[in-house]
Structures are given as C-alpha cells and as structure tokens.
Symmetry: C2
DNA sequence: TAGTAATTTCGCTATTAAACGAAATGATAT
DNA sequence: ATATCATTTCGTTTAATAGCGAAATTACTA
C-alpha cells in the first residue's frame, strides 16, 4: 500500500518542478520568505494562479506556509527527509544561477515590500 | 541567448521525469540496454507510445540509442555533464527501489528476450 | 460587529501531453 | 529487389494543467 505510493511521490515532486513559474518561486524562496502578493508582483500573473502554484509546491513538500498577521508567509521546507526533494533544493540554485530571468527575479526579491504592494 | 535556455533545459528534464512509464523505463535501463519491443512487453503499452517516451527521455539527455542489427538499443547516458541529470540517475534507483511496480519490472527485465517477443 | 484586505476556491477556457492505430521509414535477410 | 520486421511518425481522441476573473473564505482592525 504505502510502498506503491513511492513512485507517485516522485512524480508529484517532478511535476511540481516542471513549470517555469514554480521554479522561479522556489528560487525566490531561497532568498527569503514571501507572501502571495509579493510573488504575484514579481511573476506578473494573477494572485489566484500564484496561490495554485504554491499549493502544488506545498503538496510536493517543497514549501511550508505560516500565518503572519493578514499575510501568509511561504518559505522553503528545509526539514524534509525526502532524498530527491533535498537534493533538488541543494542543486537548483547552482543550476539556475545564470538564468537571466532568475537573476532579475532575485534582484527584485531584495527590494520587494508587501506594505506597498497590497490593497488589491 | 544561451543563458535564457538554462531554465528550459531544467524544465525539459523534470517533465521527462514526471511520467510513470518513463520512470519505469529509466529504472529498467539501469539494469541493461533494451530495445523498444522489450520495453513494450514489460510496460504493456503500444510500441508507438514507447517510442514517444523514449524520444522524450533522449531529448532530455537521459538515454542514448544505438543500432544493433534490426533493433535499436536504448541505454542510460552515463557521460552527461548535466548536474541535475547525473544526480537524478544516481538517486532514482535508491528512491524507487521499494516500489512494487519497479521491483516487478526489474525482475522481468532479467529474463526478457527480444528474439521471443518480436514479429509484431 | 462590521468592514477591509489577503488568500483560496470555483468555474471556465486554452494549451499541452499521453495514448492508440495506421501509415511511413529504415534496415536486414532471403 | 523484395519481403519482412523493428521502429518512428502522423492524425486523432481524451485527460491533465496553467491561466483568468469572480465568489468564497479567513482574519485583522477600526
């Protein structure tokens, strides 16, 4: 029963990684925790789509959420015991380091500020 | 130009890994090189679908093909310089080792024989 | 308690991907 | 060279996924 789920877990992880915006989110979260509207601002897609991406990353085990006032902070899960998940989180920053889009995302992350962004 | 392709390469690799039959194929190829009809026999899907999966794995860099008489042998690419690709090939066997479907695939691989299978 | 703001969920549309069978291709062997 | 067989490509159908906007939810705050 449990054993038959191993491959499904792997597939869920790899599917989560198969989308450009989700890779961008993961890389941003290596720099700091972010709320939905901060991510929305950088990706330039709707807030509902961001929320969906975050739930896919959470289901796969990559990120955790925590309430912070009226915001929800999302951050990388650094406590997972999953071998693939840990390796990916380790390798991705090196791998995507030189990607132009990732580079500009990471610059924007430094100065993004939820207090200026929100009030949808 | 080239740099903008880094993320697309990553996405291609993760998409290739996001399918059950392709994971099964990769694991089988860790044991020995196989032709299309041998893989078809174990997966129980049509030969054209197997061929499509193999082309996706080849495009992502996971496997290589070589002619062998009237057959085409597919084998793992162990010469890649790609960081993600190498790590995945290293980790996957450990990760999927206990999956029941993978276990039965790997038993079947031992005795599969193209000479008995073919004549579609 | 009512209002407001952040986030999630729902319903929909458009695109992508997996599967099949049939036809085309490539290569061996008679 | 022709027949045969393994594989690939093509055309189609069906299922999954990313995106949007609107409605629902959750939780501060006035």
């Amino acid at each position: 029963m449990i054993l038959r789920k191993i491959m499904n877990k792997a597939i869920k992880i790899f599917k989560a990684l198969s989308d450009k915006n989700r890779l961008r989110i993961l890389l941003m979260l290596t720099k700091k925790k972010l709320c939905v509207c901060e991510i929305q601002d950088i990706l330039s897609i709707t807030v509902s789509t961001v929320s969906k991406h975050l739930s896919i990353l959470r289901d796969a085990g990559f990120i955790l959420d925590e309430k912070d006032g009226k915001w929800v902070n999302y951050r990388l899960n650094t406590t997972s015991k999953d071998m693939i998940l840990n390796q990916v989180i380790l390798i991705l920053p090196f791998y995507l380091n030189d990607d132009e889009l990732i580079k500009s995302d990471l610059i924007k992350v430094q100065s993004v500020n939820r207090k200026n962004l929100c009030k949808i």
